[in-house]
C-alpha cells in the first residue's frame, strides 16, 4: 500500500496570525477516527510548560493508521491540512 502523507501548513495553523490556538481548536484531533494526530510542544520550546500558543503545534504522527477518510481536511477551519498518497 502506498504511504499516506498528512501535511499541516504551519503558516496557517499554530501561528499568531491565524488567531487560533491549536490547543483550543484541536478539531482534527477530535474528528479523526483512528486518532493519528498529536498535539505537542515544540522540542525547542523554552520555558517548559509554557502557556504560549506559539510553542504548541499539531503533528500527524501515526500515518500508517490513516484511513484517508478526509474528515480532518473538512474539519479544519483554516484549510491547513492536506492528505495525499
Amino acid at each position: 500500500m502506498a504511504r499516506t502523507s498528512v501535511t499541516i501548513d504551519y503558516s496557517k495553523c499554530g501561528n499568531y496570525t491565524s488567531g487560533i490556538d491549536p490547543r483550543e481548536c484541536s478539531r482534527c484531533l477530535n474528528v479523526c477516527p483512528p486518532a493519528i494526530f498529536i498535539r505537542h510542544e515544540h522540542l525547542t520550546a523554552k520555558p517548559k510548560d509554557s502557556h504560549d500558543p506559539e510553542f504548541w503545534q499539531i503533528t500527524a504522527v501515526w500515518l500508517d493508521l490513516c484511513t484517508r477518510c478526509g474528515k480532518c481536511v473538512e474539519a479544519c477551519p483554516l484549510k491547513a491540512i492536506k492528505v495525499s498518497w
Binding site: 504511504r3 490547543r23 481548536c25 484541536s26 478539531r27 484531533l29 477530535n30 483512528p34 486518532a35 494526530f37 498529536i38 498535539r39 505537542h40 510542544e41 522540542l43 517548559k48 510548560d49 502557556h51 503533528t59 500527524a60 504522527v61 501515526w62 500515518l63 500508517d64 493508521l65
Partner: protein, 289 residues
C-alpha cells in the same frame, strides 16, 4: 505470572508488591527530578527519535526488513529500561498492565502511597484535545503533577481520599474504560489509568505496533454457553475486538487470544455468563501477556 512479576513481584504479581509503592524506593531512585522532566515534556514523547529515526510514521519504519527489527529491539529496550542513565523525556521505563477493576480497588485502598490525586488524562489531551479527569496518580508523582497547571482539573478537587479514589476508578469502569496500572519508571508503581482505545498512548503502541507498553491482564474472559442469552451487551463493551456474536450459535464467542482480561464484558453481562479465569489456567495462553 509475567517476567516483571518474577523480577519485581516478590513471589506474587508485581503490582501487588508493597515494596514497589514505597517512598523509600522513590527516594532511592531520586524520582522527583526524573518524573518532573518526564511530565514536563510528556506530549513530545511520540515525536522523539529512536536510534536517529523519527517516530512519525513508526508503523512503516517497523516493517522495514533489517532496520525495522533493530528499531523494534531498541524501542522495547527503551520502554523496559532499568538502566540508571535512562532518558526521562522519552519516558523510558514507563509501561503497565491491564487489571480488572477489583484489583485496581485493592491497589487504591491499601497499596497506593499518599497523596492520591486525580488529573487530566495526558493521552486524551494529547491525542484528542479533550480534557478528561480520569487518571489517578499517587506517591512521588502527585507532587510533580501538582506543579504542572495543564494537568490540574479546574472544577474538581485534585487530592482524593482512598474511598474517593476507589469510587472514581469504579465510575470510569462503568463508563467502559479499561483499568491499567503503570510502572513509572520500573520498578516504582505510581499510576492507575482508565484507558480507552484508540486514544491511549500505551494501548496504541501495543495494539497497532505490537510493542509491549501494556501487558495483558493475569486473567482472561470465559463464557458459559448455557447462561449466555445472546443479548450482545458485552460486545459493545470490548475495546479489543475480542468478542463477537454468532448468529448460528445464538450466543457470544470470546477470542481469548485477543482478550486483555479487563473484565468490562463480565460487568456488562446481566446473566452471569462471563467470568474472568486466570490466564495460566488456559493452556494456550500460558506466558502470553
Amino acid at each position: 505470572m509475567c517476567q516483571w512479576c518474577m523480577k519485581h513481584g516478590a513471589g506474587g504479581k508485581w503490582y501487588l508488591n508493597a515494596r514497589n509503592y514505597s517512598n523509600e524506593l522513590a527516594e532511592d531512585m531520586n524520582l522527583e527530578a526524573y518524573l518532573t522532566e518526564q511530565w514536563m515534556n510528556f506530549e513530545t514523547v511520540y515525536i522523539r527519535k529512536i536510534m536517529g529515526f523519527s517516530s512519525i510514521g513508526l508503523g512503516y519504519k517497523l516493517k522495514m526488513p533489517i532496520i525495522g527489527r533493530l528499531l523494534r529491539w531498541q524501542a522495547e529496550n527503551m520502554i523496559h529500561s532499568e538502566s540508571p542513565n535512562r532518558n526521562p523525556v522519552r519516558a523510558d521505563g514507563h509501561f503497565g498492565q491491564v487489571i480488572p477493576v477489583e484489583e485496581a480497588k485493592i491497589i487504591l485502598s491499601s497499596l497506593a502511597a499518599e497523596p492520591i490525586i486525580q488529573n487530566y488524562c495526558m493521552c486524551r489531551m494529547m491525542q484528542r484535545g479533550v480534557k478528561d479527569v480520569c487518571c489517578i496518580n499517587f506517591g512521588a508523582l502527585s507532587g510533580v503533577i501538582e506543579k504542572l497547571p495543564r494537568f490540574i482539573p479546574k472544577d474538581t478537587r485534585v487530592r482524593l481520599g482512598r474511598e474517593e479514589a476507589v469510587a472514581a476508578v469504579e465510575e470510569q469502569n462503568r463508563k467502559g474504560r479499561v483499568a491499567t496500572v503503570w510502572f513509572q519508571p520500573v520498578p516504582y508503581v505510581n499510576a492507575i489509568c482508565s484507558c480507552e482505545v484508540p486514544q491511549c498512548g500505551g494501548l496504541r503502541l501495543r495494539n497497532d505496533f505490537g510493542l509491549n507498553t501494556v501487558y495483558k491482564a493475569e486473567y482472561v474472559a470465559d463464557t458459559n454457553p448455557d447462561l449466555c442469552q445472546g443479548c450482545k451487551a458485552c460486545v459493545a463493551q470490548c475495546q479489543f475486538s475480542a468478542i463477537r456474536y454468532s448468529p448460528t450459535l445464538k450466543r457470544v464467542l470470546v477470542d481469548q487470544a485477543k482478550c486483555f482480561g479487563c473484565g468490562l464484558c463480565r460487568d456488562a453481562c446481566r446473566f452471569g455468563a462471563l467470568k474472568l479465569v486466570p490466564r495460566e489456567e488456559v493452556p494456550g495462553l500460558i506466558g502470553r501477556y
